[in-house]
C-alpha cells in the first residue's frame, strides 16, 4: 500500500514539475529563437562569400542536458509494452536540440552566419541497467563566420 502511495505521489510530482519546467523552457526557447532569428544557421559546408571578406571563422558549439521526469518515464515504459511512438520523450529531445542550437548561437555572438551545423545526441548516465539516471544531451556545433560589411 505504501509503495502505491509513493508511486502515485512520484507520478503526480513528476507530471506537475515536469510540465511546469517544460512550459517555462519552451517559453524561453521561443523568446530566444525570435531574438536570434537573423543569425542564419545552415548545414551547408560553405557559403559563397569571397575569402578576403571573411574577418573570422571559428568553431562554436552549444550543448544541453535535459532529464526525463518520473511521469514521462512511466509513460514511456508503458509505451514499451505495446510499442509505437514514444511521444513522451519527443519533447525532451526537441528541447535539448533547440536549447543546444540557441547556446551555440549565443557563443557565436555577432557572427554573420554559422555554417556546417551538426547536431549530436547522446544518453547521459546510462552505465548500469538498474541505476538509469535517464537524461539526454544534445550538442550542436558549427563554424561561425563574421563577414565584413
Amino acid at each position: 500500500m505504501i509503495d502505491l502511495i509513493i508511486f502515485l505521489s512520484l507520478l503526480a510530482l513528476g507530471y506537475g514539475a515536469g510540465n511546469w519546467a517544460e512550459k517555462r523552457h519552451y517559453r524561453s526557447i521561443a523568446e530566444r529563437e525570435n531574438a536570434t532569428i537573423n543569425l542564419p544557421t545552415v548545414t551547408l559546408k560553405s557559403v559563397n562569400i569571397p575569402e578576403h571578406k571573411i574577418r573570422s571563422a571559428r568553431l562554436v558549439y552549444g550543448s544541453a542536458v535535459i532529464s526525463v521526469d518520473y511521469f514521462k518515464r512511466i509513460l514511456a515504459s508503458l509505451r514499451n509494452v505495446v510499442g509505437g511512438k514514444v511521444k513522451s520523450y519527443e519533447s525532451l529531445l526537441d528541447r535539448a536540440r533547440r536549447e543546444a542550437l540557441l547556446r551555440m548561437k549565443a557563443m557565436a555572438g555577432d557572427a554573420t552566419v554559422i555554417v556546417n551545423v551538426r547536431i549530436e545526441t547522446s544518453a547521459v548516465g546510462k552505465q548500469s541497467r538498474r541505476k538509469n539516471i535517464g537524461c539526454l544531451e544534445a550538442m550542436a556545433y558549427g563554424t561561425a563566420l563574421t563577414v565584413e560589411e
Binding site: 510540465n19 532569428i37 511521469f71 508503458l78 509494452v81 519527443e90
Partner: protein, 277 residues
C-alpha cells in the same frame, strides 16, 4: 523578392497528444487486459476445481500446509474438536476428505477450510462458544465449504491474482504481500452464495446429528454491535449481512420443520478458555 526569416509556427517534432490522455489510454488498456486475464483465469479455476481429484488436491496442499502439519502437537483441545468433527462426518456430513483439525492461537473469531482437508480453528472462536451445538454448527459450516469445494475456488483465485501481479509488477509487490498475509491468516474470502450454501449444509448436518437445530443461529448473534468485524472473519462480513444469514437460517428451519431443543454443554476439554456467561 526579399527573404524574411520567421519561425515555422508549428512544431513537427513533438506529437500534439496530451500526455495525460496517452497515459489514460495506455494504463487503462493494460489494466483492462490484466483484469480480463484475471477474470478468464478465475473462470478457468471455477471450471477446473470441481474436477480436481481429492488426491491431487492433497498433493498440491502438501506444499502449502506442510509447515502447519509438522509443527502441530496434538493436545486435548485439538483431539476433542477432532472427535466432534469425526462424529459429524461419521453419519451426517459424508465427505471424501479426512478432515484434520488444527488449533491455532489467535484472537480471530474464525475458522478456515484449507486445501487437503486441513481445518484451522482459532482459539478466539473457541472462547466464544457456549454450547456443543453452536460449535458443531460452525464446524459443519466449514465442512460445508469442503462439500462445495469453496476453499479451492478462493485459493485458486488468490493464486491467479498472485501470478498476474508477479508477472506485471515483479515478485516483491504490495498486492502479493497483501494476498500472502491473507493466506497466512487464512482469511480466505467467500462469496455470499458460497456462505449461504455452507450455512444450509451446516443446518442440515446439525439436524441430522442432533435431530434438532438449537444453537444454529446463536453464534451469529454474538457479534457485538460496535465490535471490530475484522476479528470475526468470514462469519461476520458485515451487520446487515449477518442479520440476513440469521433470518435465512430461521426461514429454512421453519420451512423444513426442523425443531429446536435443548443445547448440549461443551465438552470439558473445550471449556478451558471459556469465560462462563
Amino acid at each position: 523578392m526579399k527573404f524574411t526569416a520567421r519561425q515555422p509556427g508549428i512544431n513537427v517534432n513533438v506529437s500534439p497528444t496530451h500526455p495525460l490522455k496517452e497515459f489514460a489510454i495506455l494504463a487503462g488498456g493494460l489494466l483492462a487486459i490484466a483484469v480480463g486475464v484475471y477474470l478468464a483465469l478465475g473462470l478457468a479455476v471455477d471450471l477446473i476445481v470441481p474436477r480436481l481429484s481429492i488426491d491431487l488436491e492433497k498433493k498440491l496442499a502438501g506444499a502449502l500446509i506442510g509447515r502447519l502439519v509438522e509443527t502441530e502437537e496434538v493436545d486435548t483441545t485439538t483431539r476433542s474438536l477432532q472427535a466432534l468433527v469425526g462424529r459429524l462426518q461419521d453419519r451426517c456430513a459424508k465427505l471424501p476428505y479426512n478432515v484434520t483439525v488444527h488449533v491455532t492461537e489467535s484472537d480471530a473469531v474464525n475458522a478456515a477450510a484449507l486445501p487437503g482437508g486441513h481445518m484451522v480453528i482459532f482459539t478466539g472462536l473457541l472462547a466464544e462458544m457456549t454450547s456443543e451445538n453452536e460449535l458443531a454448527f460452525v464446524l459443519a459450516h466449514e465442512l460445508g465449504h469442503y462439500a462445495n469445494r469453496d476453499h479451492l475456488r478462493s485459493l485458486g483465485r488468490s493464486l491467479v491474482l498472485m501470478t498476474a501481479s508477479t508477472l506485471l509488477l515483479g515478485a516483491d509487490n504490495s498486492i502479493n504481500s497483501m494476498i500472502g498475509h491473507g493466506m497466512v491468516l487464512t482469511e480466505l474470502s467467500f462469496s455470499r452464495k458460497q456462505e449461504s450454501r455452507a450455512d444450509e449444509f451446516a443446518l442440515e448436518t446439525l439436524f441430522c446429528h442432533y435431530g434438532q437445530v438449537a444453537g444454529a443461529t446463536a453464534f451469529f448473534k454474538k457479534i457485538p454491535e460496535d465490535g471490530d468485524p475484522g476479528r470475526f472473519g468470514h462469519y461476520f462480513a458485515s451487520h446487515p449481512e449477518n442479520r440476513r444469514r440469521i433470518s435465512h437460517l430461521k426461514d429454512l428451519a421453519q420451512e423444513r420443520g426442523y425443531p429446536t431443543g435443548t443445547l448440549f454443554p461443551l465438552p470439558a476439554d473445550l471449556m478451558v478458555n471459556t469465560i462462563p456467561p
